[in-house]
């Protein structure tokens, strides 16, 4: 019995890790007022950049750095479109998702099926094997919660997301803060991708993210843009993935029910959040371009 619980926890943590990292990133840029639906694409390029640098025996630290940089670089396109050119943020994010998954699939073709020999070693803590990425994600969630709520920088970011005009009047450079938030968000999504190829699977296959990025986007709404709640949310969806894996084949329920389950659940969860009025917690200026002098 104990084993079942431990196994469930370990697997929930493993799948929850990229979800947590990516949603923390999305929380940062959404708290700054910019929606980014491109997480799936950012994760994909992060995954590829990490694998390409690490393969076959490369430096893992460099690989992680490459993933951060790749995520930030792709997110910079979104920042330019959404902030400087005031484009529709939702559609720009969608374009980013297409571009990111497409580019990762195209440029990653040469690695298809290749394994990574020096994957990131898991840690064993009291009988629990966890990836260093998982530990980092949990730590980051705590740090981010503290930074957002208790520091001057966090306050600045939130004010830009809630009321950019007021922040501007107080001398905050709205565009600069938003750029920084989007780039940081992209870097974190890239890190989530790095986890997938350096630790979770340690090989390259097309579509390494398999829809996780979209779930991360929905997760942000579900947890009301709060980093600490994101830990619980990521564990919850991680656990669902474990159930899917666990019940598959043995339950008599068609496998397609399980493959559709995360997406159906996201819809249910979003609807519940909507009915409860959770959307009311969204940063007030979310999704709107800021133009000085316009209301």
């Amino acid at each position: 019995m104990d084993n079942v619980i431990v196994e469930a926890l370990v697997r929930a943590l493993a799948v929850g890790t990229p979800l947590l990292l990516a949603s923390l990133g999305a929380i940062v840029n959404e708290r700054g007022g910019v929606v980014n639906l491109g997480v799936e694409g950012l994760m994909a390029v992060g995954a590829l950049a990490a694998f390409a640098v690490a393969y076959p025996q490369g430096n893992l630290w460099l690989a992680v750095l490459a993933a951060l940089a790749a995520g930030a670089a792709l997110a910079a396109l979104h920042a330019f479109a959404a902030i400087t050119l005031r484009a529709n943020q939702f559609v720009s994010g969608l374009a980013l998702a297409l571009l990111g998954t497409g580019a990762a699939g195209l440029l990653g073709k040469r690695f298809e099926g290749f394994p990574l020999f020096n994957k990131v070693q898991d840690w064993t803590v009291g009988g629990l094997t966890i990836s260093p990425f998982t530990a980092a994600a949990l730590l980051l969630a705590v740090l981010l919660a503290f930074w957002l709520n208790s520091t001057r920088g966090g306050l600045t970011l939130r004010s830009v997301g809630e009321n950019p005009a007021a922040a501007d009047a107080l001398g905050v450079n709205v565009a600069r803060v938003r750029y920084a938030a989007v780039l940081a968000g992209g870097a974190l999504a890239g890190l989530a991708g790095a986890f997938l190829t350096l630790s979770y699977r340690a090989s390259w296959a097309d579509n390494p993210t398999a829809g996780l990025g979209w779930i991360a986007v929905a997760l942000v709404i579900f947890v009301g843009w709060r980093p600490l709640r994101a830990i619980a949310g990521a564990l919850f969806f991680g656990f669902l993935y474990y159930l899917q894996f666990r019940l598959q084949g043995s339950s008599g329920i068609p496998t397609e029910v399980f493959s559709a389950m995360p997406f159906v659940l996201v819809l249910v969860v979003l609807a519940l959040a909507g009915l409860r009025g959770q959307q009311g917690d969204a940063p007030a200026a979310l999704g709107k371009a800021y133009v000085r002098g316009e209301r």
Binding site: W214, P254, E256, V257
Partner: protein, 352 residues
């Protein structure tokens, strides 16, 4: 550099900006091909020669244009109402499911079968979009919900063809039995161009343009899309408009799905073979047309070239088909980024 708003942006300006955006996008894609290790000249050359350069290629472009035209025209209408339906892919699949179910299981007299397939196909797509419209009422962003529904639709198709609808004589394969002959749509000889669907697409595009610009409902739709506050003040029910818009946009995508199974496959088969990302590409078709369903008559063939060209790149240059996603992403990004230059003039130099 600063941007000066223009009071009345001209259509010519919109056209020029769109062309420039597409040119920039093609340039960026060329850089990505260089990174991949393919010569952009060879890539674009292959695409153009194999699509516009010979009759077989043109037929392939026409074949891809059909679903793009139907789904794109519906999306163009939805975008005008600010209903960001990104789920044409799933709605198309559900249209194919309903049409296939009609052909396989409804005992209809021969001449009625094809019309019934299209009507029920439209219904299937419309209902799938209606879920998103319903969720929007409780505050769920339709971009997210329609995307999730795409994934669910893929599972629905897989479940049916591997489970209850699996054909009796297909052995290991997963697809349904072949439709009865009466469910086959005629094609241009020697091609896979099911021309009745193409004709239908032209009518739908023109009809929706008429609906949008000439009808009372179209007026309500535009007001709801452009100024929700004014719409409320005028007593227009935004939820009701959204419901109708969802049925139309999903229904048009459903027609596209019905056309694919009736005209090409004659059975229900895997989602990846039913649609080559038509739903996502249709988003670009609609965006390029700047929300005018009739303009999709021009933009759908353009994107048809990219889809048919992507197929050639896969076969001739051994590139992954995901290259189409790169095109789609870059073009979409360039398009929405360029929007501001339609409504603003750029003035160089500093100054207040």
């Amino acid at each position: 550099m600063r941007l000066v708003p223009l009071a009345t942006p001209s259509p010519a300006r919109a056209g020029l900006v769109t062309l420039a955006a597409v040119a920039v996008a093609l340039l960026v894609c060329a850089l990505i091909f260089l990174a991949y290790g393919a010569s952009p000249g060879e890539v674009y050359g292959t695409m153009l020669r194999g699509t516009l350069g010979d009759p077989v290629g043109l037929a392939e472009v026409a074949r891809r244009t059909i679903p793009l035209l139907l789904a794109g025209a519906g999306l163009a209408l939805a975008f005008r109402a600010q209903f960001f339906n990104i789920g044409a892919e799933g709605q198309l699949l559900l249209g194919a499911v309903f049409a296939a179910g009609t052909a396989l299981f409804l005992p209809l007299p021969g001449p009625l079968l094809l019309p019934a397939m299209f009507v029920l196909g439209a219904l299937g797509g419309g209902l799938w979009a209606l879920i998103a419209a319903g969720l929007r009422r409780v505050g769920v962003n339709e971009i997210l919900s329609t995307l999730m529904l795409n994934y669910v639709a893929v599972s629905v198709v897989t479940y049916l063809i591997a489970g209850p609808w699996k054909g009796r004589d297909v052995r290991g394969y997963i697809y349904t039995d072949t439709f009865p002959q009466a469910g086959f749509l005629s094609v241009l000889p020697g091609t896979q161009v099911h021309w009745p669907t193409l004709v239908l697409g032209v009518f739908v595009a023109l009809g929706l343009q008429w609906l949008l610009t000439r009808s009372t409902f179209g007026y309500a739709l535009r007001v709801v899309g452009e100024n929700p506050g004014a719409a409320r003040y005028a007593g227009l029910s935004a939820p009701r408009v959204m419901t109708v818009v969802a049925l139309i946009t999903g229904g048009a995508a459903g027609l596209a799905g019905a056309g694919e199974v009736a005209g090409i496959h004659h059975r229900l088969l895997e989602a990846g073979q039913l649609s080559l990302g038509y739903g996502f590409t249709a988003v670009i078709v609609a965006w390029l047309a700047r929300g005018n369903p009739a303009l999709c008559l021009v933009t759908a063939p353009l994107m048809g070239v990219i889809l048919a060209g992507g197929d050639l790149l896969k076969i001739d240059l051994n590139m992954p088909f995901r290259v189409v996603d790169v095109f789609s992403g870059v073009i979409l990004l360039a398009l929405i980024g360029s929007e501001i230059f339609v409504r603003h003039r750029v003035r160089l130099g500093a100054g207040a």
